[in-house]
Subunit: 367 residues, 4 copies
């Protein structure tokens, strides 16, 4: 184990948008240090390495896994590769931070969890909403009894579509926006409610705007029922113009709160000619815009990465693990089944022979 | 028909919260005039009459219907009485403004529509959201192409529970919050989308907070699918603390808009000791509060009542009729069926032998 | 006097932006009716007449004054003409609604008040902020004791510059933004505080952005002291990009309130391609914008015009008169004197030989 | 100099509200470490030490200064003691972080600056607004040209009065709210505008609510003119109910921005019974409230303290120094002079024989 005074040496697998977030976020902390990046497209890894002063760049992540100096890897590759890379990393004795969603199937999730357990390495699940300061405040207030008995947690995330091509190819991504962002809401409601056991899910999805870009859904709703009769409501969109939007609401017998991460945190700004950067996915900085400040920190990415590094150093107990990711995986599958069948799906839901979650919407099982 | 220069003489049936809104709203216009009020509880009609300078008070609405001077009646009585009163009013040759929801069943709705048609009187459906200025602006922008192809309309209304006891008794009301306020959202989405034909509904409801007050649900979600693949999303609550909240969001291929009728319109105010009136259902005016201004006008009630009076005078074409109410009725029934069965319900949905909508949630039909 | 059932016949003097507001606002009421419009530029009066169905158009307002059918005229001509037109109207026995600011000098103001008094006609001062519903709500709460002892009222109005050329020519307008919009704030604070006697004013102004367009100031601050030690704070700008902005804040020993007429009332909207109309002075409707709804009504213009008509009919007591305008006039003069001299100016302030208010800033009197 | 790997050892002088902020903020960083606290009231230092795990507590700060292990001290004592303590600290070879405002007079400020220069120690001025993330974002946008030529910066801070008694005693504090919080706005505008030279100030102040608590003003306005004709506008209040409020606005030829640190960042919350903590100076957590999250970080305190520690370690160049504090000192004096004389005061302003700034308001100099 890395001693308290040393940094955890981290290798990033991937080089695009999410990898950039990881690199920047780890650099903001003190317990971790990115020492390598691996990406198959020639030049991509080096480009990220140059930007962040990362020591080594690879085109083959397996070479990176062979470096004994590396303690932990983060996986930002397409969803369909999460499982294989995790197994390889565990076999190499590396701790794993796997980006959401965990995998394509429950079988994969179980393999990943087992492999890391057997290898004695952590399998962290990169759900930054457990660390988003504004949402953490909401949970603190809830836990202090501010809302009495919480009966409903709502989370939504919307923008006009992801950066990378693979998101739009369901063969690589496993699904559309529900797969990409619904996993945030599922995890968030589960965590917020104290990891209460989910019992059922009802989902409705469609491809409304980006019909030309693929088969994945671009706006989704899901209602999750938890033990004790409390519910979570998710709304996710790749079809919302104007920039990123992320919100949480909490309802209880004694109160309510609204946490808006963008329009409710921004500096409403008018600029005739524009400026450097407003917010993720903002189409423009001219005219009116909603620039945010300290975007990574306000989203919780540095805090999340610091947490993982501290866990590796034995300074913290893991708060977002592969098991959380598996709970999400099951609800993703059940959600697609619900959307495809037009029925609520009870848990446990362990479909067999599923290649990717969205297949359950295209061809729901006869239950 | 009342000539253009005369006022339409109106009798209000009911004397409580909604009747007060009617009286105040009609007084703000120029085409209508309240000349009578009827309420069975002794003294109630007179009390409202005194407050608004209404000429005549009755305990039996049938006596009021016998007055030839009255052109139109408004019905604010409990839902289970809407049908009978409408039939009586039509038989008496009076135009009818029926508060939402229209009735308890489709059979009742059809009877009411037929009776008014045969009697040659208008059957208006009191859906004020068709007249809410802020929401009308959203529709104008949509119709001007501001959002491109609109694919989703969201409407929500929340507070901590209604005034009158009969709301909490499902035998009188027909259901809980979905019946009481979901009808607003159903009508609104339908109207906003140009009265596009609804094809299905998926609903989820529960009694989360007011378990001691009755069997009705106190927080509901519903997703309505319309022809052409566009959707409406409703959220309604009797379990939201802090005062009234009413919002609309519109999503399209080219844009989005947010219309918040309360927190987005109010004068955020701190008062150590409080003041006269903040907003409907506000628990207090001390501490922080969200007082609104010109509440009735901002909700569209005066505009709605003026519209009905103008229609009677032949100065306008009806924009909110019993047929709209019947569309809502069918979706209310289908919504309860969906919530009770855990399945999407396709339209048309014509259940037989239903006494009140919520029965379909307690005992969903086997479809 | 016009009987209660008839409408007050109104002639509008002017044909541009403000005249349009008058015509639209009067049409929204029931007590007044625009029957004539006069504007010296050939064609302008007829254009407004055509748009609003106004019976008669004139190029010479004196001809309009000769029409016995006209009860009242509204003056939207350049500031330097307010006095002469008022005298002519009074001489013709017409009631007068004079747009703000009342005049160029106190001498003119006194002449106008005297002439109307002698002629037995009303001299109304068109300060719509006394009727702005959201601000009226703030005053109601204050009068109910919501804020305890009010010690500070703040009002501000900002946009990127007026429509008509004459505003930018101080010879015609009398000053820049403080003359054009500071008069609103002066009147508002005076009225809000119960027409408490103002005792002094401290002002600071400058031309920061539109240095190429004229000599008038384009951003101003003023602090008015009132009897009893309470204060008003005004901020006005012709140099604020992004559309109209109008706000009020009220501070008292027991509370505070915020009333924002635009960003705090609007439907925040993103539109890729734009739509019909957002808000006064909005540069664009594409990208993000803050469209308002029922703009005239929310500003109080129809309510203001209805009030004036009702006063003519003896149905109301005037609430915004030439005497209010004179109070404003004195503070405008004192404010320019303060800005030019860098000193607080005590009231009464009766400068002699002043041609237009801004002269006191260019050449402050030695006091 | 402390090596890069060691922490800067810090002693806090004072034990109340501001000292608590310092202790908490330094603990959030990695370059500094609080090792001692000194406060004359028996028990106070120990209480803070216990809460933060600080090694040593003193009642006499001079004893603390004698400890060779200490690199730097922070001064949170009453304003009238800032000078003496700074001189003592410099004499002891300690770097100094002095809370705002720097001193009571320019003479003191000059003494403090000279003493630290001669001793070869830093004199840092604790103006956290240079580090407030949301305001730093506004400055970044301005520097990127978002607003074109910035002509006006506004900053305001308001609550219902400070914690400690000494604030209300002008003999100890030197003045009321303008001294206590106007110094923030003065520094902020100066820094935001690139440390442009201030040329004049016009101020207006009064005691409106807390007339029973002392002679200090409780609401103040000030307009600062800078070289090149740009201005800063400050508003500060100890008479605003409802919790802390801090805002910035920036106006330029090409744009505008609004940065609201509280109501514009909070989670609007309703709680029937309340919860742990909402925001500084919040009167209650029941009813509606505006809880903020990560309050210290969002105010910039940890970033500020980290910056000072990094400077001591040679890792950063000081960005908030005694010289900044002296600029503020001069404007505080000139502001009180302006408020007392009712005149704009030109800089430089070097009044002689002033004991404390507010004296210039009570007895303005004849200039």
């Amino acid at each position: 184990m890395t001693s308290a005074s040393e940094t955890v040496k981290i290798g990033i697998i991937g080089s695009q948008f999410e990898a950039d977030i990881h690199a920047a976020s780890i650099a903001m902390g003190r317990h971790g240090e990115v020492v390598a990046v691996a990406s198959p497209t020639p030049g991509n890894a080096q480009e990220l390495a140059d930007r962040y002063g990362i020591a080594r760049a690879y085109t083959d992540y397996r070479e990176m896994l062979a470096d004994p100096a590396i303690d932990m890897v983060t996986i930002t590759a397409p969803n369909r590769l999460h499982c294989q890379i995790t197994l390889d990393a565990a076999a190499a004795g590396k701790h794993v931070v796997c980006e959401k969603p965990l995998a394509m199937t429950l079988e994969e999730a179980d393999l990943m969890i087992a492999a890391c357990e057997q290898a004695g390495v952590h399998l962290f699940y990169a759900e930054e909403l457990f660390f988003t300061p504004k949402y953490v405040k909401a949970k603190e207030m809830a836990d202090q009894g501010a809302f009495g008995d919480v009966y409903l947690v709502k989370q939504s995330e919307m923008h006009f579509g992801p950066h990378a091509d693979w998101f739009w190819d369901v063969e690589q991504s496993g699904g559309g926006v529900f797969m990409d962002m619904g996993c945030h809401g599922i995890a968030f409601c589960y965590w917020f409610l104290g990891r209460r056991r989910p019992t059922a899910i009802t989902a409705q999805m469609g491809t409304y705007v980006h019909t030309d870009k693929g088969r994945g859904e671009d706006h989704s709703f899901a209602i999750i029922e938890f033990e004790g009769g409390v519910i979570g409501h998710l709304e996710d969109s790749w079809a919302r113009r104007g920039g990123m939007d992320d919100r949480v609401e909490v309802y209880g017998s004694e109160g309510v709160t609204y946490a808006n991460l963008h329009m409710g945190n921004a500096l409403p700004t008018y600029s005739e000619n524009g400026y450097g950067y407003a917010v993720e996915k903002a189409p423009s900085t001219s005219g009116w815009s909603y620039p945010v400040y300290e975007e990574l920190w306000n989203y919780g990415f540095p805090q999340e990465m610091e947490h993982f590094a501290k866990c590796v150093k034995g300074l913290a107990t893991p708060d977002s693990t592969g098991r959380d990711g598996r709970v999400v995986q099951e609800l993703l599958l059940a959600g697609y089944q619900s959307a495809g069948s037009g029925r609520k799906v009870e848990l446990p839901f362990r479909p067999e022979g599923v290649v990717k979650p969205i297949d359950l919407m295209f061809s729901p099982l006869a239950l």
